[in-house]
Amino acid sequence: MRPGGWGRALLALGLVAAGGLAACKERPAPAQAPPAAAGPRVIPIRAKKFSYTPNRITVKQGEAVVLEFTSEDRKHGFKLPELGLRADIEPGKVTRVNLTAPRAGTFPFACDLFCGDGHEDMTGELVVQP
C-alpha cells in the first residue's frame, strides 16, 4: 500500500458509513409513517395524445381522492359529466381534481379539448366500488 493509502481507505469507509447513516435517517421507519387519515389518496394520471395513463381508475364509494393530472405534450381536457367534473390539463402544471364519488358505478370520462386525429379515442372510465 502506498503511503497514505490506509488513511484514504479509512476516509472512504467513513463516508460510506456516514452516507449509510444518512440514508437510514431519510428512510422513514414504518412506525413513523403518516397515518392513513392524513389526507386523501392521490392518483397520478398522465395525459398525452391520445390517452390517459391509467385510463381505468378504481375508487371506493365515499372515498376522498385527488386525481393528479399532468400532460406530456399539449393542453388536454378531462370531463366526467355524470359527476360534474371537468378540468384543463396543461403541460408543465399539475392539475388536481378532488373527488368523493357519491355512488357506485362505472363512469366514462374523455378529453373535451380537441387535440387532433385520435382525440375521439382519448377516453377512460372511473370505477366506483360500493
Binding site: 381536457g77 370531463k79 359529466p81 373535451d112 379539448l113 380537441f114 386525429d117 379515442d121
Partner: protein, 306 residues
C-alpha cells in the same frame, strides 16, 4: 304490414303526413316530429335545400375503403337529380384533421375542387372541429370565409353558429352577443333555421356530443317561436326537442358512428360491404308552411330514399 307502413298510417291518422314541425305543436306534434322525420315522403314544399355533413376529406382507413371517391360520387349523384335544390349546406368537418397546417390547407383546397362542379352554385359551408379546432379556424377562414354568419332565403332567417373553433366546443361570449343582437332584429314569429356542427343540447356529453355553452344559445333561441336546428358531428340521423325547438342531426359521408352511449367507445361502425349505403347519406329539407315546418327525406349515397 311493415313497421314503416304502420308508421306512415299512424302519421296519416295524425294528419301531419311527413311534416316536421318546427314549433307550435305540443304532445302529439312532437311525437309526429320524430316519427315523421324518419318515415316522411317527399312533398312539394316552398323550396328545398340539401344538408350534407361530415365529409372528412383526407380520411383514410378501414371504416371507409372508398373514402377517396365517396364525396366525388355524391357530387355526381346530386348533379344528376332532375330537381335541383335552392342551395346546399355542409354542416362541418369538411376535412379530416391533421397537425400539419400545410396538409390542412391542401385538404381544404381539394375539398373545394371536388364540390366546385356542383350545379347548385349557392353552397353554405360550416366548420367542424376537424377543420377549425387546432388553429382557431385560421385555415378555414382562408378557404371558406367567416366561421359564423347569417343569410336569408324566401322568408327564412338562417343563423350559422360556430361551436368548434374554440377547442372546448364553446360558442363563446362574443359570438353569444352576436347571436342575441341578430335575433333582436328578427320578428319573434319569423321562421329561423340554425345551422351548426355540434349538438347545441347535451346529447351525450360523455362522448363530447354537446356544446359547452349550448344551453345559453338555446335560451336565446327560445325567444322566437319557430326555430329549427340542423347539425352534424354525430354521423347519424337524430331528432330531439328542447322545448319547441327541433334539432336534427344528419348522417355523415365518411363513416357512421354508434348510437349515443350504445357501446363503450365512440369508434366508427365497421364498413359493411353488403350494405348499399354503408350507413352514409345526406338529406333533403323541404320548407313547408312558410318555413315553420320542414319535410326531411333521408337519402343514401345513390340519391335514393334511404
Amino acid at each position: 304490414m311493415s313497421f314503416d307502413d304502420q308508421r306512415r298510417d299512424f302519421l296519416k291518422l295524425l294528419g301531419i303526413g311527413g311534416l316536421v314541425y318546427a314549433s307550435g305543436l305540443a304532445g302529439v306534434g312532437r311525437l309526429g316530429n320524430a316519427l315523421a322525420a324518419k318515415g316522411s315522403t317527399p312533398a312539394a314544399g316552398d323550396f328545398f335545400f340539401l344538408q350534407l355533413s361530415d365529409t372528412h376529406w383526407g380520411f383514410q382507413g378501414p371504416p371507409n375503403p372508398d373514402a377517396a371517391t365517396t364525396l366525388k360520387k355524391t357530387v355526381e349523384v346530386i348533379n344528376q337529380s332532375p330537381k335541383q335544390p335552392d342551395f346546399i349546406v355542409f354542416t362541418g368537418d369538411l376535412t379530416h384533421t391533421t397537425d400539419d397546417p400545410a396538409v390542412r390547407r391542401t385538404r381544404m383546397k381539394e375539398f373545394k375542387e371536388i364540390v366546385a362542379p356542383l350545379k347548385v352554385k349557392t353552397v353554405h359551408f360550416m366548420p367542424g372541429e376537424h377543420d377549425a379546432s387546432l388553429d382557431a379556424g385560421e385555415a378555414y377562414r382562408e378557404f371558406f370565409g367567416a366561421l359564423n354568419y347569417t343569410f336569408d332565403h324566401k322568408g327564412i332567417h338562417f343563423v350559422c353558429v360556430d361551436n368548434v373553433s374554440d377547442p372546448k366546443g364553446a360558442v363563446g361570449s362574443k359570438q353569444m352577443e352576436w347571436i342575441a343582437a341578430d335575433l333582436a332584429k328578427v320578428d319573434k314569429d319569423a321562421p329561423i333555421v340554425v345551422l351548426t356542427h355540434r349538438p347545441l343540447f347535451d346529447l351525450y356529453p360523455q362522448w363530447d356530443w354537446a356544446t359547452a355553452d349550448g344551453t345559453r344559445v338555446i335560451e336565446l333561441l327560445q325567444t322566437h317561436r319557430h326555430v329549427t336546428v340542423f347539425y352534424g358531428h354525430i354521423h347519424q340521423e337524430n331528432h330531439h326537442m328542447t322545448g319547441d325547438i327541433a334539432h336534427h342531426a344528419a348522417k355523415s359521408l365518411i363513416f357512421p358512428l354508434p348510437a349515443p352511449g350504445s357501446v363503450p367507445k365512440r369508434a366508427p361502425l365497421p364498413w359493411d360491404p353488403s350494405s348499399p349505403n354503408h350507413g352514409l347519406g345526406y338529406r333533403t329539407v323541404a320548407a313547408q308552411k312558410k318555413g315553420t315546418a320542414f319535410d326531411l327525406t333521408e337519402l343514401g349515397l345513390n340519391g335514393a330514399k334511404a
